[in-house]
């Protein structure tokens, strides 16, 4: 990507001044209020006199057009006008020389109507002739928590992180940021890309590939325009930093839905599966899988084989965790005789078992769990470790939590193997979420269920096997 284009996108994603066009009381000034934490200068453009008072109450200066805004450093314009008016706003943006604009406005090609298609063509032609970067239309634009630029008031601000996300859905872009955050995954830049009349998936991918702040790139994608370009970029990018692909419209039924969502035509899933396999991208079907993948990528040491050391809380759970991990394609075998000999030395076998999978039984209250982990760390037949913990026992403030969590953190710091923790909710959703958050804060991936942990770990190991083969 030419440096000029990169610089311009840098400006758009990290704007000095933002203008919101067409915000109104009816939506409770969602865009203006959305930028309430914005670190730079914020302006409103609205010609409807009925809105003047409401905008003034927000303390934001209002102007009749983008051209009239007294600022030469407008980097990001949020356009929320009716679709018929959008060409005029685009014209003004181009005239003013702003860095770029996103069009929340919808009603274009995705409607399948002649009027919608025409309007989209008008916008596209104007923007392309001027070489003007348009995000959308029919999108929610940018979320940059560090800069305080948001597409929704449900999004947090202030806490910049390493994960960027490109989304052909506004909802998924918002949810990835918000749900991710609740799971300890912090976003860097998230963009909802809409109908892609100018900037499309490949552009954002190319941009994030070279963006030093972005360590992981996630994508929710329904279709791309230039397939060959995308495939080439995907191959390049996945070698540099992990790329997660959540493909929308995997089934014929889903593909029909994409047509009305973003005016995308069905692309055979076999083609996408091939691209993912050939590029080393990580397939994540859905929000949960995308978030779970981030957990392993951010906090697990690399591994290139599948042999698990499993530690669970009870006999029944030990059977369950083994079935689930085995079904996910991981390997569960006996530990070495040395490991068993060592464990026999400290493990109370009444009500428990130390053969893989380990059933903790009564071996909770003392030092036994860190000791078990130490044995698994040494065992050369163990590539990765999964530990189930009880939310009920580790609730905040209990003596057990206070003693145990630092021990866990110490192990996580030293371990050379991927180490994941599972804290199932059972009937304690809130407690479990809290315990998971605490464990995530220690830099240890914490999962909701065996299925989610196993899937994430398998994808993570596959990714590292791919990288190893590339060398």
């Amino acid at each position: 990507m030419e440096q000029d284009k990169i610089n311009r996108l840098d400006r758009i994603f990290n704007p000095r001044a933002v203008v919101v066009v067409g915000d109104k009381k009816q939506t409770n000034y969602m865009w203006l209020r959305g930028q309430s934490e914005f670190k730079g200068r914020l302006y409103s453009v609205n010609i409807d006199a009925r809105e003047f008072e409401g905008i003034a109450e927000l303390g934001i200066p209002n102007y009749p057009s983008v051209v009239d805004v007294p600022d030469d450093e407008i980097d990001y314009v949020i356009v929320a006008v009716p679709r018929e008016v959008s060409p005029i706003i685009l014209r003004d943006c181009i005239k003013k020389g702003v860095s770029g604009a996103m069009f929340f406005t919808s009603g274009f090609k995705e409607t399948g109507t002649e009027k919608g298609i025409q309007l989209q063509e008008t916008l596209t032609k104007m923007a392309k002739e001027a070489g003007f970067p348009v995000i959308g239309p029919n999108c929610m634009g940018i979320f940059n928590p560090k800069a305080g630029v948001r597409s929704s008031l449900t999004q947090y601000t202030g806490d910049g992180g390493p994960v960027s996300f490109i989304s052909q859905s506004g909802t998924h872009s918002i949810n990835f940021g918000v749900t991710g955050y609740a799971n300890g995954i912090k976003a860097n830049k998230i963009v909802s890309i809409g109908n892609c009349i100018v900037l499309e998936a490949s552009d954002y991918l190319e941009y994030f590939m070279q963006d030093e702040e972005t360590k992981i790139i996630g994508m929710y994608i329904e279709s791309v325009q230039d397939g060959k370009r995308f495939f080439k970029l995907l191959k390049e990018c996945a070698k540099v930093k992990p790329v997660l692909i959540w493909k929308g419209g995997q089934t014929p039924e889903g593909a029909r839905a994409t047509a009305s969502h973003t005016a995308s035509l069905a692309e055979p899933m076999v083609v996408w599966e091939a691209m993912i396999k050939q590029s080393g991208a990580i397939r994540t079907d859905g929000l949960d899988e995308a978030i779970d993948a981030c957990k392993t990528l951010l906090y697990c040491r690399p591994a290139t084989d599948y042999r698990m050391g499993l530690i669970s809380t009870t006999g029944g759970q030990s059977v369950f965790i083994t079935d689930i991990f085995a079904k996910a394609g991981l390997i569960i075998r006996d530990f070495t005789e040395e490991s068993y000999a060592e464990m026999a030395g400290f493990f109370n076998i009444v009500g428990g078992s130390f053969r893989n999978p380990i059933d903790m039984g009564q071996n909770w209250a003392g030092e036994q769990v860190p000791e078990m982990l130490a044995v698994l760390e040494k065992d050369t037949t163990v590539d990765a470790i999964a530990l189930e913990l009880s939310a009920g026992r580790l609730r905040l403030g209990t003596p057990l939590a206070e003693r145990f969590l630092p021990q866990l953190a110490a192990f996580a710091k030293e371990t050379r193997k991927p180490f994941v923790v599972i804290v199932p909710s059972f009937a304690l959703d809130a407690d479990a979420a809290e315990v998971r958050a605490q464990i995530m804060a220690l830099g240890i991936p914490a999962f909701h269920s065996f299925e989610r942990a196993a899937k994430a770990l398998k994808g993570f190991i596959d990714y590292h096997r791919f990288l190893r083969e590339e060398q």
Binding site: V224, Q225, D226, G227, K228, F231, E267, P268, V270, V271, E273, A274, M275, K277, Q278, E469
Partner: protein, 230 residues
């Protein structure tokens, strides 16, 4: 002849479908093993070619308009002497003229019956957006009924070739089964790599169908091939 020359020849005649002989020439030109196949324009020529190649032979109609030869009675297998070859030639030409009268008959292709091996299929089709897509599967019901196939986008690397072969469910059959010798996977990988290179270089190729390929312990032979141009 080079690939360019062979493709050019078809293009000059305004043809999109290469004959089986031409398709096999293309494959030979890129180093893929094919069952030697020659075009006969008369009964005597067919017999002479058959003697040269060695019995038993197969005879197949050659016509740019006919893509599914067996459907129109255009294929005769396991001909073990000159008499059978001569009779087969006449029968094929007659049957085809009856069933598809508008078809231009260039002649009849004569090839040696290949020793049976593990049957695999390699195909290429063009996706509008993503370009050529390579397909691999085991022959017969595996592809046709069970849809046990793998796909990769062109261009592929060896890892892709290896993985697309190993990921099909029927793969264990290639490792040798009930007396059938195992297939040489590396040779099959080579075939896939060469086809990938071929279609990457020659964008005018729209579709390819190598079906069947007989895979042996020490090599692979393309028994029938179809190439369609844009």
């Amino acid at each position: 002849m080079s690939v360019d020359e062979i493709l050019g020849q078809a293009g000059k005649n305004g043809r999109k479908n290469l004959t089986e002989v031409e398709a096999k020439e293309v494959l030979k030109a890129v180093g893929i093993g094919v069952a030697e196949t020659r075009l006969a324009k008369s009964v005597s020529e067919a017999v002479s070619i058959a003697k040269d190649l060695g019995f038993p032979v197969a005879l197949k109609i050659v016509s740019p308009q006919i893509l599914h030869k067996s459907d129109v009675g255009g294929v005769k297998l396991n001909l073990s002497n000159a008499g059978e070859v001569a009779a087969a030639y006449d029968e094929i030409v007659t049957k085809v003229s009856e069933r598809q009268p508008e078809a231009e008959i260039y002649g009849v292709a004569v090839q040696q019956m290949a020793r049976p091996g593990a049957e695999v299929i390699v195909g290429v089709s063009k996706d509008e957006k993503f370009g050529p897509v390579l397909m691999f599967g085991l022959g017969g019901i595996f592809v046709e009924i069970l849809k046990d196939v793998s796909f990769r986008l062109v261009p592929i690397v060896r890892r892709d070739a290896r993985q697309m072969i190993k990921e099909i469910k029927g793969y264990p059959l290639l490792e040798g089964y009930r007396g059938q010798e195992p297939a040489n996977v590396e040779v099959l990988e080579d075939v896939l790599l060469k086809i990938s290179e071929l279609v990457e270089k020659h964008e005018e190729i729209k579709e390819m169908d190598l079906n069947p390929i007989f895979a042996y312990r020490d090599g692979a032979v393309v028994v029938d091939a179809r190439i369609i141009l844009d």
